[in-house]
Amino acid sequence: MVVARDVLSQLRRGALEYCVLALLSEEERYGFDIVRTLGSIDGMVTGEGTLYPLLSRLKQDGHVATTWRDSDAGPPRKYYALTADGRRALADFTAEWRRFRDSVDSILLKGAI
């Protein structure tokens, strides 16, 4: 069980950053919005707080860009938007992920029968 949990947390960590990119593919969002959206999906995030370091890493990697915008309620918010690099990385991952998922499924499900 410990091994399974380790593997899952590695998988989750790896896939999470692309889920963030996917979330931004339609529109820009501010940090709290991203964190709450992903946090509400079952099994996606173990601690919401860990998403903030992830967002700043995505920015360092050039996959997202940030802009401060005034908000109606409270202080200005930092908005995250997908860059061209980020869009390319997301497309690559999406293709690879489908291939990987189908391969794993084909073996796992065959094993179950």
Binding site: T46, G47, E48, P53
Partner: protein, 210 residues
């Protein structure tokens, strides 16, 4: 910020700031202010302690948040992005530094291993290098030679005029040996204590990075 935080949330931010000491200062300040902004947005103006605790639970432990910030650090780029572990390198570093065997080479290799390990801070590395320049081989050997020679010399001096030994001068040789024993104990115990401390420090650094 726009509102004063609940004391429980405030304590959480302080703990986060403390946990984030190991990451670069600019990143640390940004991280703390992001989490502070998160709390501002997640909590109503007059939040109850239960509301605060639920939001904090969702955020996760400060140590976990800091751990998520770490892979970006260049220090850890060697292990293909994985966190460093205390292992053979650290064990060998301490063993070679303490023993200094084989003479000169053993200590030098240990020193290099100590310096390249990402698990020790600069101060800890300095401590490791300063305590035994040369290792035990270089300090214990000369000391034992001195104590043996000292004992022999006092015996020779007390050989009587007729050439028959009249016994060693107990006061002289005993005093010298006693000093040598104290020095040897210090020279052996001190490095072992420092090695144990460094081993524990590496374990803590590993746990913090995992």
């Amino acid at each position: 910020m726009t509102m004063t935080l609940h004391p429980v949330a405030d304590a959480y931010l302080r703990e986060l700031d403390r946990a984030a000491q190991a990451i670069p200062r600019r990143e640390r300040a940004e991280l703390v202010s992001e989490i502070r902004a998160h709390l501002d947005q997640a909590l109503p103006a007059e939040a109850t302690e239960a509301e605060v605790r639920n939001v904090l639970d969702d955020l996760g432990l400060p140590a976990d948040i800091v751990a998520a910030a770490r892979p970006a650090r260049p220090v850890y780029s060697d292990g293909a992005g994985s966190a460093p572990r205390r292992g053979v390198r650290e064990g060998f570093a301490l063993a070679l530094l303490v023993t200094g065997f084989p003479p000169v080479l053993g200590w030098l290799v240990g020193a290099v291993l100590l310096v390249v390990s990402p698990l020790w801070t600069g101060r800890q590395k300095l401590l490791g290098l300063l305590v035994w320049p040369g290792g035990l081989v270089m300090t214990v050997l000369p000391l034992s030679v001195i104590s043996v020679r000292g004992g022999a010399a006092s015996c020779i001096e007390s050989v009587g005029p007729s050439g028959v030994p009249v016994g060693c001068s107990d006061a002289a040789s005993g005093g010298l040996n006693w000093l040598a024993v104290v020095a040897m104990v210090l020279v052996v115990v001190l490095p072992v204590l420092v090695a144990a401390y460094l081993w524990r420090a590496a374990g803590k650094a590993e746990a913090a990075a995992a």
